[in-house]
Symmetry: C2
Subunit: 220 residues, 2 copies
DNA sequence: TAGATTGTTAATCGATTAACAATC
DNA sequence: TAGATTGTTAATCGATTAACAATC
């Protein structure tokens, strides 16, 4: 791709959605010692056509080599930079309920370069407890902590009705992105990014899909 | 929409993705006592253009009324049927770790018509325990339970390396859909539906978005 | 009835696929 | 070099938006 200087290049939403999957499989291939891979082979793995895969990658640079394919490590490093996880970033979490605790104990995102620096709650019974080596802090200490520890992501695992307030506190404290698990659509300023994990919506989609298949199987 | 008899009508993937959000807000509006809503107002809520909202809904029937808009309760009932949640459906869960326990304690999907009938694990220390009133059962009892209790959805919250096997056991037992939280792409027969909750992928997308915004703000 | 708003067709926009020259 | 495979343009396909007749 030729980058036209000075212009803001917009990456299609559909491309952005696929990048994490590419990255996940590159990590795996790297661990498995795979050295190179063609767009055809890799496309089969990530369930995307070979031309589409090449198109997607070429939004960010020319990482392949004609007649050879893609070097797995090189592509992994390139994509890590594209996504912004080539160096660790710090997160804080608000809401030490069941889901919050599950995330505190998770190893999955830690392996991808995200460090959960601190967790907060409003409940005095939880404050002071230690979970997986992380102390639960008082929500009133949030701003101080975020400003002093280079935190740029906030995770929201509070109940529905507390989510908007938690988001506002995170933003006031200076985080740049919010990973939201509460089943609400947060109202946020444009310069803050959000990613929602509306788990129940996935379950409804599953229900819809099952219904369609069942119908089809009944030839109805 | 005029339904051409005998033909299999394919609903665009993009439409399916939006339905759960429509449903979530209809539940809320219904609770708030809102009686009717226009495509313009509702579109603003779900962040979709009015014509798109009408297009989407008209894939399933004509639920509105000219000059009036949509009756909230009528639309809620109609969409519930479309999604397949007009009556309760039974689920089982495999993997009573941190995330599994968080789901067992969740009220969110229960309110939308999903009943967690039983949970299973392989760990003898967990088997026999009761969490939120649900007994943890031995994974070897899975098939018997599923067949005897009209279960059609299986939830997978086991570690990465155990997920494929768990999926196969669920399918052998007869579930029609899998709600997968393990960070792997399951290999499944075509007549079984899957919905993945690859949480870390959401976090990577967030990282990418933050990076883009930061760049932009720096005028670089 | 008059005003409002749907349902639906046609036009536009964006994303995917096909094809192939470039080149390792 | 010859074979393989990329990067990229053009063609196709699908999804969104605009527009408006139908109608409550």
């Amino acid at each position: 791709m030729i980058r036209k200087d000075g212009e803001q290049i917009v990456i299609p939403a559909a491309v952005i959605k696929r990048l994490p999957k590419y990255h996940r499989h590159l990590v795996r291939l790297l661990h498995q010692g795979v050295e190179k891979i063609s767009s055809r082979e890799f496309g089969k793995i990530v369930r995307v056509s070979a031309p589409q895969l090449r198109q997607d990658l070429n939004h960010f640079g020319n990482f392949g080599q004609q007649g050879y394919g893609y070097n797995v490590e090189k592509l992994y490093i390139a994509l890590s930079k594209v996504i912004g996880i080539e160096k660790k970033s710090n997160m804080v979490l608000i809401g030490v309920g069941n889901l919050g605790q599950a995330l505190i104990n998770s190893t999955d995102f830690k392996r991808r370069g995200f460090h959960l620096a601190a967790v907060f709650d409003i409940n005095p019974r939880l404050i002071g407890m230690t979970i997986n080596g992380i102390k639960v802090r008082d929500i009133t200490d949030l701003a101080d902590y975020v400003q002093g520890h280079n935190v740029n992501i906030g995770v929201i695992t509070v109940p529905e009705n507390a989510a908007q307030k938690a988001a506002e506190e995170l933003i006031a404290a200076g985080v740049k992105g919010i990973w939201n698990f509460a089943p609400v659509d947060l109202d946020l300023p444009k310069d803050v990014s959000v990613e929602n994990e509306h788990l129940t919506e996935g379950l409804l989609r599953l229900s819809f899909k099952i219904k369609g298949k069942t119908k089809f199987n009944n030839k109805n």
